[in-house]
């Protein structure tokens, strides 16, 4: 293997050693149960409380609005299901979302649909951004909830959360945002954006896997997803994952403290990678808005090739990346995200997502720009589809 370049930070990130250090006491001597009375347990309790304060500080919410969960999926499920059921009792059974949400949202909505909810999925257009007028038109008297992601996980586009929040607040509709890809990467201001509920996951910003949070605006009280003990003020049962919670808070703090300094160079690398690939590979295109996108997100489609074989060849070169091809996921259709922005199936299959972190150096970008084009060419050489494209034959 040549160099190891991890360019799949939208899938998961490296746990930072500083974060692990903060967690270590709770993985060793400090194993007390935070719900226990004795001082050994109260030390863990204090750590959890401090973590909650840290989260509140960096997301601009109140400490008592922070509820720790096992990750982004749980937070999404909890927020959407429970708001939906609560509103259904008031006769409101309409939910608005977008066509390119994460499956944690879309599959939850699908389950709700089976239970009689009506779901409107807003279009996201070629640039992968929701239009506020569409939202305004979609809101009905029986709309229970609007759930729109903060930033998309595949194409990295950032949604007009502030406007959406304002519209929802004005119309008196609850607003949940899946901010799993945004938190720790771009500024997220819970109170300032009129958000009612917000999901996040630690492992997307160099924290540990298996821990996340749902921020719930003070005063909102829906049913629980996980019933049981009195943890999290009786709203999310389960012995607290102290180490995970401490890790989440530390990772968030580090990410937020670093953000202002780290973002411009990250964007520079991202844009050099994008223009380098588009420049050197014919019939390639950038997916998603070039400006309103996450600092680390690159998503490009290459005609005539299929994503999985591209990923395997990149793997040989030590490059970890991801694709929206169906073959990667084991489903039949390519990524619903790429289809939602109007890509034909065949082109969606040939997509590559490179998601950067601060670990990525300028040399890594050079390597990527060096390594990727020949792989594309190699695959095109043996591709009967590329043959058709060159001959301008109709396909699909």
């Amino acid at each position: 293997m040549d160099r190891f370049i991890y360019a799949d930070n939208a899938a998961t990130t490296r746990l930072l050693p500083q974060v692990l250090n903060k967690m270590m006491p709770y993985l060793t001597e400090q194993y007390g149960n935070p719900s226990s009375l004795y001082s050994f347990g109260q030390t863990a309790r204090q750590a959890v409380d401090e973590a909650r304060d840290t989260v509140a500080e960096y997301l601009n919410c109140r400490s008592d609005e922070v509820f720790f969960t096992s990750g982004g999926s749980e937070a999404d499920n909890w927020a959407i299901r429970m708001a939906a059921h609560a509103m259904a009792k008031k006769g409101k059974k309409h939910i608005i979302s977008t066509a390119f949400e994460h499956h944690a949202v879309l599959h939850t909505l699908k389950a709700l649909k089976k239970q009689g909810f009506e779901i409107t999925l807003l279009p996201v257009y070629e640039n992968g951004i929701v239009q506020i007028d569409d939202l305004k038109q979609a809101i009905r008297p029986d709309t229970a909830l609007v759930t729109v992601m903060f930033a998309n996980n595949e194409i990295g586009t950032i949604q007009p959360i502030s406007e959406i929040g304002a519209v929802c607040r004005e119309k008196g509709v609850f607003f949940h945002t899946d901010a799993v890809q945004a938190v720790g990467h771009i500024p997220v201001d819970f109170a300032g954006l009129n958000i009612d509920m917000l999901s996040l996951a630690a492992h997307k910003f160099h924290g540990p896997k298996g821990v996340g949070a749902l921020i719930i605006r003070k005063g909102l009280r829906f049913a629980n997803l996980i019933e049981g003990g009195a943890q999290e003020k009786g709203r999310r049962a389960g012995t607290e994952n102290t180490a995970g919670i401490v890790g989440l808070a530390e990772a968030l703090k580090l990410a937020c403290l670093d953000m202002e300094k780290a973002t411009p160079p990250m964007i520079a690398k991202r844009d050099r990678l994008i223009s380098g690939l588009l420049g050197s590979v014919e019939r390639s295109r950038l997916n998603g808005d070039p400006i309103k996108r996450l600092p680390g997100n690159v998503n490009i489609s290459f005609e005539g090739i299929e994503g999985e074989s591209l990923l395997l060849l990149l793997d040989f070169k030590g490059v970890c990346a991801s694709s929206g091809s169906a073959c990667t996921s084991g489903s039949l259709d390519p990524s619903h995200v790429l289809l939602s922005i109007g890509l034909p199936h065949a082109i969606a299959h040939g997509s590559l997502r490179l998601s950067l972190s601060q670990d990525i150096t300028d040399e890594d970008i050079d390597t990527l720009l060096e390594v990727i084009p020949p792989i594309i060419n190699r695959l095109r050489d043996i591709s009967p589809l590329w043959e058709k494209i060159l001959k301008n034959e109709k396909y699909e």
């Binding site: 074989s309 073959c327 039949l332 199936h345 043996i382």
Partner: protein, 145 residues
């Protein structure tokens, strides 16, 4: 280094055998479509009832490329009858297995060879159907099998 695929699949994916086209092929078969993300195109040369040469081009995932590659090896030099008997199961076995959601690739390989042989018969003025059997519609998504 843990892998998604067997070593055999990886080996054929990395060093595919018999890649390319046969300009004066006696039969060409193409199966799959871009929508599904898989197209296999097989070229055969027939001599004295034997598969004298076979080449392929494939658009698709790792296992699509690997199955095409090993399938060409498995029919090279064989009689047409033997080539027709190549089953997708045999291809899977020869590759030391495929993940469940990749089995359709082996079907593509089997079908594209049959399609090439059918094309060979058609060019000879012989109706291939009684010999080759009913082929999958090349434009139907085999991946949904």
């Amino acid at each position: 280094m843990a892998q998604f695929y067997s070593d055999k699949v990886m080996e054929h994916f990395t060093n595919p055998r018999n890649v390319g086209e046969i300009p004066d092929a006696d039969g060409i078969g193409e199966i799959g479509n871009a929508k599904c993300g898989d197209i296999m195109k097989m070229y055969i040369k027939v001599k004295d009832g034997l598969i004298d040469d076979v080449k392929f081009k494939t658009y698709g995932c790792g296992s699509a490329i690997a199955t095409s590659s090993i399938a060409t090896e498995m029919i090279m030099g064989k009689t047409i009858e033997e080539a027709l008997q190549l089953s997708n199961k045999a291809v899977v076995e020869a590759l030391d297995g495929l993940p469940v959601n990749k089995i359709h690739c082996s079907v593509l390989a089997e079908q594209s060879i049959k399609a090439a042989i059918a094309d060979y018969y058609t060019r000879q003025g012989i109706d291939p159907t009684p010999i080759v059997g009913k082929l999958a519609d090349p434009h139907q998504p085999i991946c949904e099998l």
